[in-house]
């Protein structure tokens, strides 16, 4: 038995950078020679992300073949409106309302392995394979890995270090901050050993277990690009470059060089018959300005900020990830910097805070006009270039949890929810932010060589991996198999089959069927997150 399908996730990978790093520079070898070979011998396409191109909704869409309107994961933070209070907690795998590819493949007899993927914790109670989750602090990695003994087994890997491998919440909060030069360099260096740890784990499981579907996510691409974008974007490598810039570029390139080597070793270890797929959850671009959306909504009368407590508590609150608002007066607001959405507060019963339900359309239309009116005073250009209603971009049974409006900023940046003026401010230096177009690549037997396809959608990845595994594609998946990625001969031997719909398992439609006990549990989590602050 050998690995049939190898999936390599590269969080935030973009052709803007990869095209540059796969080209031979100054007559020498490319920074990523193996990926250069994949480009030449495989097929690739841009991959359109979810409406908010963010890790949680995008990776969950990639893993389920469904949009956020169906799977229900919109952000890192989940919130519940409770009249004069709003509670926040973290999303986890139990919040995903639809079946994942790990489950689809597993229940059809395929052995799977998922390493470092977000929202795979807590793991399912039954799986034919292995999960070591991403985005989990090291102190909880063992308990959230599947099966029970896998964590102990990983300790046999030379130099295995769970603290180096796992997510450090405090450190990751820096990704969107403006850091000193020293801290930025330290940030990039921090991600080099992390990727090596995940590579070693992947190598170990491939060698020991040979799963049919082997999947590993390298998330350092995203983390590095947030802080090191000025040093990796080929469009920003002109003119006189400082010594620090050159040192940071070389350090960043060493990350990609190392990643290329890991990929080559994994592909080689998988054997000559493996089909390899690569995808990112979104692309990357430059963010040049800060947009303080709640400060703008306050000017327009939608948001009322709460006064910060004195001392350290106030400082912690001001630096926290959530909007700190007067819920008795606020009628529309942005919850978190990552959501890029606006939530309208609708009163569920008379006397409760929020707008009257019958005023919803009127308020939302006025809000859209006000958001359109936020313009660059110098050029007259709109700061928010696209504004979508949730019916437009999040259709599905989980739409009720979506923001009422989804925004796209002119530089694709993420908003700030803090109470600071001015509303729009140029950044002191360019940072990386998420672009909606990521990457999708395939390589191996049966894959067309040297082909570039038109843009695909992130939900296509699940369908494609199932097809590669020889499994039918469930009829209710939104994603389609890009058949042009595969040779005619391969398609003739492996005709595409559309099969039974996915299974919802025991999750159901949480928004409509949650009983009191479940609500109590949810509230406990929400309130405990407040405890964090």
């Amino acid at each position: 038995m050998s690995v049939r399908t190898l999936f390599i996730g590269m969080d935030g990978a973009t052709f803007t950078v990869l095209d540059d790093l796969t080209r031979a520079a100054n007559g020498g070898e490319p920074v990523m020679p193996f990926l250069s070979r994949v480009f030449a011998e495989g097929t690739r396409a841009k991959l359109r992300s979810t409406p908010n191109p963010l890790t949680p909704p995008a990776w969950v869409s990639l893993m389920t073949g469904r949009g956020p309107g169906h799977h229900g994961v919109y952000d890192f933070i989940r919130a519940e409106e409770r009249g004069d209070e709003v509670y926040f907690t973290l999303y986890d795998s139990r919040d995903c309302r639809v079946e994942t590819i790990w489950s689809m493949a597993s229940r059809q007899g395929k052995r799977v392995c998922a390493l470092n993927f977000p929202f795979t914790a807590p793991p399912p109670s039954e799986l034919n394979g292995f999960i070591v989750p991403g985005f989990i602090p090291w102190r909880h990695l063992r308990r959230n890995s599947y099966p029970d003994d896998i964590y102990e087994r990983l300790k046999s890997i030379p130099e295995f270090d769970p603290q180096e491998l796992a997510w450090d919440f405090e450190r990751e909060k820096q990704s969107g901050d403006e850091l000193s030069d020293e801290d930025r360099e330290s940030w990039v260096r921090y991600h080099l050993p992390r990727e090596r740890q995940w590579f070693k784990v992947a190598q170990y499981i491939m060698h020991e277990e040979q799963p049919d579907l082997m999947a590993v996510l390298f998330d350092g691409v995203d983390k590095l690009q947030h802080q090191a974008w000025p040093y990796v974007d080929p469009n920003l490598q002109h003119g006189e470059l400082s010594g620090f810039h050159q040192r940071m570029r070389e350090l960043s390139l060493s990350y990609y060089r190392q990643l290329d080597g890991f990929i080559e070793q994994l592909v080689t270890a998988a054997g000559p018959n493996v089909q390899v797929f690569f995808a990112s959850d979104h692309g990357f671009t430059a963010s040049t300005e800060v947009v303080r959306i709640n400060a703008y909504l306050a000017e327009k009368g939608y948001v009322h900020f709460r006064e910060l407590p004195e001392g350290d508590a106030g400082k912690r609150r001001d630096n926290s990830y959530f909007a700190f608002l007067d819920w008795n007066k606020t009628i529309a607001y942005c919850r978190t910097p990552s959501c890029n959405g606006i939530t309208i507060r609708v009163a569920r019963k008379p006397g409760e805070t929020g707008i009257d339900p019958k005023d919803y359309d009127k308020v939302r239309n006025r809000l859209i006009r006000d958001l359109e009116d936020l313009k660059d005073p110098q050029t007259g250009e709109r700061i928010i270039t696209e504004i979508y209603t949730r019916e437009e971009v999040f259709p599905g049974s989980a739409m009720g949890d979506a923001p009422d409006l989804q925004m796209v900023l002119r530089d694709f940046g993420f908003v700030s929810v803090r109470n600071i003026q001015p509303v729009v401010q140029k950044r002191n230096y360019v940072i990386g932010t998420h672009h909606p177009d990521g990457v999708f690549m395939a390589w191996g037997p049966g894959i067309e060589a040297g082909k570039v396809l038109g843009k695909r959608h992130i939900t296509d990845v699940t369908s494609t991996l199932l097809y590669s595994l020889g499994l039918p594609v469930p009829s209710d998946l939104e994603g389609k198999v890009p058949t042009a990625m595969f040779t005619a001969e391969y398609q003739a031997k492996h005709p595409l089959k559309i099969g039974e719909p996915t299974r919802s398992g025991d999750k159901g439609d949480r928004g409509e069927t949650m009983d009191d006990e479940e609500k109590q549990q949810l509230m406990a989590q929400l309130q405990m997150l407040g405890y964090m602050e």
């Binding site: 102190r139 909880h140 308990r143 549990q521 406990a524």
Partner: protein
Amino acid sequence: MSSLKKNTPIDTVIAVAGDITQDWGLDPGMKLGPETLLAADLEFTSIDIIQFCVALDQAYGRRFGFQDLLMKEGSYIGDVSLGQFADFIDSRLQAQGAPA
């Protein structure tokens, strides 16, 4: 996690806490008991508390509403002991007539 469920809530809570913290590098001489405090003794942060509650839910295969334990009159309590968790679980189980 289901194997961590013991005959009594306090034994289960201690087993879950012991399982979670087994490789945290805490004082190996520390004995977990009803008086053990999550933050002061076991160095729990808020994320650890969330994970602890999830682990207890998983041990019992049900969902408890731990906010009633962790919040008093709208404020978060400063710290909480394993015994308080056990008492809370016991009260919830008894209220629903379920075996501990």
